[in-house]
């Protein structure tokens, strides 16, 4: 059994468009960054394609730290996608 999975979390309108707040994704060969993970998610599901339609409006955190599209990801990581924050 492969354990090359990441946990992917979605918040705010990304969660609503994806239709789920959390999923486990098996990392295919070649998916080793946030940007390539987004491409993988878009390719496998139209709801994800809609959620990531405007890439400029999506922010990311890897293991609870803000991260850009070039950030590395690997098995066991927690990758979260969300809109720009609006607290306070």
């Amino acid at each position: 059994m492969s354990d090359a999975h990441v946990t992917v979390l979605y918040f705010a309108w990304l969660r609503e468009r994806v239709g789920s707040g959390e999923e486990r994704i098996e990392l295919p060969a070649g998916v080793r960054t946030v940007g390539t993970l987004i491409e993988h998610l878009i390719a496998r599901n139209p709801a994800h394609a809609a959620a990531f339609e405007n890439r400029q409006a999506v922010r990311c955190a890897v293991n609870q730290d803000f991260a850009g599209p070039d950030a590395a990801i690997g098995p066991g990581d927690e990758v979260a996608f969300f809109p720009p924050v609006t607290g306070g």
Binding site: L9, F11, W13, Q64, E78, F82, P84, V85, G87, G88
Partner: protein
């Protein structure tokens, strides 16, 4: 030295100031900011619902508090942020910064709310008087306010 909390319940600003200053005669001033749900004719908000990223929120707030403490030599600070459904007039966020003198206390308070608004993982959804719901967009003016602190 820092108090960091994310909670659904309301907070008591007076009690939080008392907790911050208890046994600390070296504190000479406390800066305070309370954010409140605002509604107006132009913005007929019936409610705000605040969502957050639980595993990330408190560490992010702690980093912001540590940055302020180091820059202004704070003697204590408090960040309390509410989540869930809030009505107009209800407090959302409390920022307290205690220092020996007023200038660092007031500057650190402004810094803390500016950074919190752009670096802590909270999202607001507005419910309008008619029932329509929309996610609040981030504002460029908030990014500019955070950027002025470098």
């Amino acid at each position: 030295m820092s108090t960091i909390r994310v909670q659904e319940a309301a907070f008591d600003t007076g009690a939080e100031i008392a907790r911050l200053t208890e046994g600390r005669p070296d504190i000479g001033g406390i800066g305070c900011f309370v954010g409140v749900v605002r509604a107006s004719k132009a913005d007929p908000i019936a409610a705000l619902t605040l969502e957050h990223y639980p595993a990330m929120t408190e560490p992010a707030l702690a980093r912001i508090a540590a940055e302020a403490t180091s820059r202004w030599h704070l003697l204590g600070c408090t960040l309390i942020h509410r989540v869930g459904r809030l009505l107009p007039g209800e407090p959302i966020v409390l920022v307290l910064a205690a220092a020996a003198h007023r200038e660092p206390a007031l500057e650190a308070t402004a810094f803390l709310i500016d950074w919190l608004k752009t670096k802590a993982p909270f999202w607001k959804k507005e419910t309008l008087a008619g029932g329509a719901e929309t996610w609040v967009d981030a504002r460029d003016s908030d990014d500019a306010a955070a950027a002025r602190w470098g």
